[in-house]
């Protein structure tokens, strides 16, 4: 095959795409492509060869067929808020934006589901059905901006996963287009489908198996009432034990969040949430359900917290106070961004009973590397976000931070956890995949990829490392508090 220069290839593709796409839907000039060079993990940047913005499924199919014929890789992109570089473009690839697929197609109140296009924002779904007292449960922190297609691709979580599950638990059906341009329906409007559970396989597959062009989500009735408790502890281990004891009482809180002292102080300085700044840890516990049930559970949880040695327990007296309790937690990331020139966010999950061990391991690493760490923890489901504070302007400090981050994730794997709970592997944690999975397991994943995309053209190089190239490593790197999408809350 003749090797064409990238520009020749680009021009050729532009001609082909413009046969069925409007001029403004095929972006080839550098300044037009620039906004697509990164997603929420902006430390990695790459200009795509071309950007296309189709608006019908038939157009997506034609784009993919043309790319298949010309052996051109494709990266699909939703809102670009992902934190692991899953939507990082390729220099020789087409960036396929689903931004124009932004319509809610159907709301079925009888069966409590909604059929939406992939570019619809997560929160827009809940807003559209709020009048019917329904909502879409998964609430990733970027929910005002992130798109449902991206949520499916990453199996997005949020702060209510323990009780309400992840994206995979809250969708019924997908329409996908394969790299070869074939449209498939995965799942159904019923609760199950015959054959393999491809719906589960596609969810969280990071755009490697197919392009999602339609999603049917489940809707839930809103709980009658919500209440939040805040508890302070003089020891993080006591706070960790309290989490286990609440659950041992038979209570499944809607949300259960923990912050350690550095995170508390940063959040308090930033958000003035009224947190006790001298506490070693605080727990936020959200309970929902019917009025009577929540009232009783609040008392039960209060007792558990006191037995576990809480130095203070507060119950939100009003909706305003409830929001205030949450405000500090939701501001934790930008708050840390203000006290340190840079920070580096990890996303491991651990079995909860290993919390004390992992936290002391992180403290030891923090000392060894002379880098402070603030810990923010989705305590209910074991998802830990250690934020390593560093200064990239000091020579060698980024490299040391990355090394330390890698060791934290190794620690999570060693205690039976995982390298990523909700941010995805993308390009960021590709090296850690080699630590968590054996060669045979990675080979099996490559075989799955090949079943959907034999030519390996869909988002190549992400999520699953090749066996001989387990080298790249990075993280969500925030310089001087300049987070991508600074307006978003980061949990």
């Amino acid at each position: 095959m003749q090797i064409e220069s990238p520009r020749v290839l680009a021009n050729q593709l532009v001609t082909l795409f413009r046969q069925f796409l409007a001029v403004e839907s095929v972006l080839s000039r550098e300044e037009e492509r620039r906004p697509y060079e990164c997603d929420g993990l902006s430390v990695y940047r790459q200009l795509p060869l071309l950007v296309v913005l189709p608006e019908t499924v038939a157009q997506v199919q034609r784009v993919l067929r043309i790319c298949s014929e010309h052996n051109v890789p494709v990266v699909a992109r939703g809102a670009g808020t992902g934190l692991s570089g899953g939507a990082l473009p390729l220099a020789d690839g087409v960036l396929l934006s689903l931004a124009k697929f932004n319509r809610i197609l159907d709301i079925d109140l009888q069966n409590r589901c909604a059929r939406v296009q992939p570019g619809v924002r997560n929160l827009a779904i809940s807003e559209a059905v709020a009048a019917y007292n329904l909502y879409y449960a998964p609430d990733p922190s970027s929910q005002i901006a992130c798109s449902i297609g991206g949520n499916v691709a990453e199996n997005a979580g949020g702060v209510h996963c323990l009780k309400y599950g992840l994206t995979v638990h809250n969708i019924l059906k997908l329409e996908i287009v394969t790299m070869e341009g074939e449209r498939l329906t995965i799942g159904s409007d019923a609760l199950d489908t015959p054959g393999f559970d491809l719906l589960a396989l596609l969810t969280g597959s990071e755009g490697m198996l197919g392009v999602i062009v339609e999603v049917t989500v489940k809707l839930l009735p809103r709980p009658e009432t919500v209440q939040v408790l805040l508890a302070a502890f003089d020891d993080v281990v006591k706070a960790g034990d309290a989490v286990g004891n609440i659950i041992a009482e038979g209570i499944i809180p809607a949300g259960l969040e923990m912050m350690d002292n550095p995170a508390i102080r940063a959040a308090e300085a930033f958000a003035q949430a009224g947190y006790p700044e001298d506490a070693a840890a605080i727990l936020l516990c959200e309970l929902d359900g019917c009025q009577q049930e929540v009232e009783v559970q609040v008392e039960q949880v209060k007792t558990v917290l006191q037995h576990c040695g809480a130095t203070e327990v507060r119950v939100a007296a009003s909706a305003t106070e409830r929001e205030k309790f949450w405000k500090g937690r939701k501001a934790a990331f930008p708050a840390v961004g203000r006290i340190s020139p840079d920070y580096y966010c990890m996303d491991g999950t651990i079995p909860r009973h290993q919390l004390a061990k992992v936290l002391s391991g992180i403290a030891a690493l923090s000392e060894e590397y002379s880098l402070p760490v603030a810990n923010v923890f989705h305590a209910g489901d074991g998802n830990l976000h250690p934020l390593i504070l560093f200064d990239a302007s000091r020579p060698g400090e980024l490299a040391r931070t990355e090394e330390m981050g890698g060791r934290i994730l190794d620690l999570c794997v060693a205690v039976g956890g995982t390298i990523t709970g909700e941010h995805g592997v993308g390009i960021e944690k590709i090296e850690q995949m080699c630590h968590q999975f054996s060669s045979a397991e990675l080979q099996q994943m490559h075989a799955v990829k090949a079943a959907f995309d034999p030519a390996g053209l869909l988002n190549p190089g992400k999520a699953v490392p090749t066996l001989h190239r387990c080298a790249e490593f990075g993280a969500m790197h925030v310089h001087h508090g300049e987070v991508p999408f600074p307006e978003l809350e980061r949990f």
Partner: protein, 377 residues
């Protein structure tokens, strides 16, 4: 705990792969009729049993595939916990592996979630005899493709399950079952209305009329004492509003789950041994959007509604084609269960091709339970 025979089983699969010998993965045999017959050499996995790890506060249990479901559930019950998807056993010896491989979920399914929803990770043998682990023992995990949930319902055609990690939940403090005479159309409207409100509903079933009794709607509410009490009062009011001749035929409050008559009813429903299921040669299972209206004109016959209307059991004389087409038109699918086994709804050619490619990815020699789900898969 019994000996770990993973390597032994892997060696057998490896040899079968080399020799191109098809294998039938055999547990207790309780799920024999949930798929197509497989004629192949048997690979016995029942001996690979035992609970590997269980920390109640973690809400996670890991057990080997051969572990008896009964044993697993009683260990959970000792700590006041349960499998939230209420799996049907369909036989005394039911194993965890068979339950997960068949993706079986009981009456709680529409409200709590399915077997796949609670599966966190698996250890398995692929068709080349390699021992692999996917997922894990934590609730949030997005590292790599979700091959563990893919195993749920694949009936062993993609791998031999060795161990499974499941999310578990606390048992509800109390349960209350209500039954009331009403026709199917009214019951569907009622179940739909109730599911649209945040109620602690954990079961909703409609029994067709028989020569002995009128058609009935059965509802189960479970959770904290206060929540159940409030919900029962609310539901009773709805009953009265919906029909003038409010006739509550049954109401039983159980302190502990499954103790009394109501517990027996839900167990019999789950195990497919209510009178409806007895003395029948063939029964269809229709999986449909819950609020789908009744369809007696197209599909005449006795119909039992479970899962709030989303799972319907039908005894009908009409041809398989008619049932399949109707189910598909209504947005779902139909499976026929008879004395030969189960006949699944046909897949579209494109989807079948994708299934075959996924099958080949895990089992390139096509030796694991070949033909169990579909011919040629």
């Amino acid at each position: 705990m019994a000996e770990d025979v993973s390597n032994d089983l892997a060696a057998q699969v490896q040899q079968a792969f080399v020799e191109k010998q098809a294998l039938y993965i055999a547990g207790s045999g309780s799920k024999l009729l949930l798929g197509r017959a497989v004629s192949a050499q048997s690979l016995a996995v029942k001996e690979h049993c035992g609970i590997v790890e269980y920390v109640p506060g973690e809400l996670v249990i890991t057990a080997r595939a051969g572990t008896s479901l009964q044993e697993l559930e009683s260990v959970l019950a000792e700590s006041g916990q349960m499998l939230p998807f209420e799996p049907p056993h369909l036989g005394e010896g039911a194993t965890l592996g068979g339950t997960i491989a068949c993706g079986l979920s009981g009456p709680r399914r529409p409200y709590a979630g399915a077997a796949r929803d609670f599966t966190l990770g698996v250890k398995m043998i692929n068709g080349q005899g390699e021992v692999l682990s996917f997922g894990g023992q934590v609730m949030k995990n997005v590292a790599g493709y979700d091959a563990s949930r893919l195993m749920v319902g694949a009936q062993g055609t993609l791998g031999v399950l060795l161990a499974i990690s499941l999310k578990v939940l606390p048992q509800p403090a109390c349960e209350h079952t209500l039954a009331m005479e009403m026709d199917a159309a009214t019951a569907i409207a009622m179940m739909t209305q109730l599911a649209n409100i945040a109620l602690p509903l954990t079961g909703a079933c409609h029994l067709p009329a028989t020569s002995e009794q009128a058609a009935q709607l059965w509802l189960r509410l479970s959770g904290a004492e206060e929540a159940v009490t409030a919900a029962v009062a609310f539901v009773k009011k709805q009953f009265q509003q919906r029909t003038q001749r409010a006739q509550l035929t049954y109401s039983e409050r159980e302190k502990k789950k499954g103790d009394g008559q109501a517990g027996a009813f839900w167990r019999d429903l789950r195990e497919r041994r209510l009178p409806f299921f007895i003395d029948t040669d063939a029964v269809w299972r229709l999986s449909l959007p819950a609020a789908t209206p009744m369809f007696a004109e197209i599909l005449p016959g006795a119909c039992l509604l479970d899962w709030g209307g989303a799972q319907r059991w039908l005894k009908t004389g009409v041809s398989a084609d008619v049932v399949q087409t109707a189910a598909q038109k209504m947005g779902g699918h139909a499976t026929l269960f008879d004395r030969h086994g189960a006949t699944l709804a046909p897949l579209s050619p494109a989807l079948m091709k994708m299934h075959q490619q996924v099958k080949t990815a895990f089992d390139p020699g096509g030796i694991l339970n070949p033909g169990r789900l579909y011919e040629g898969l």
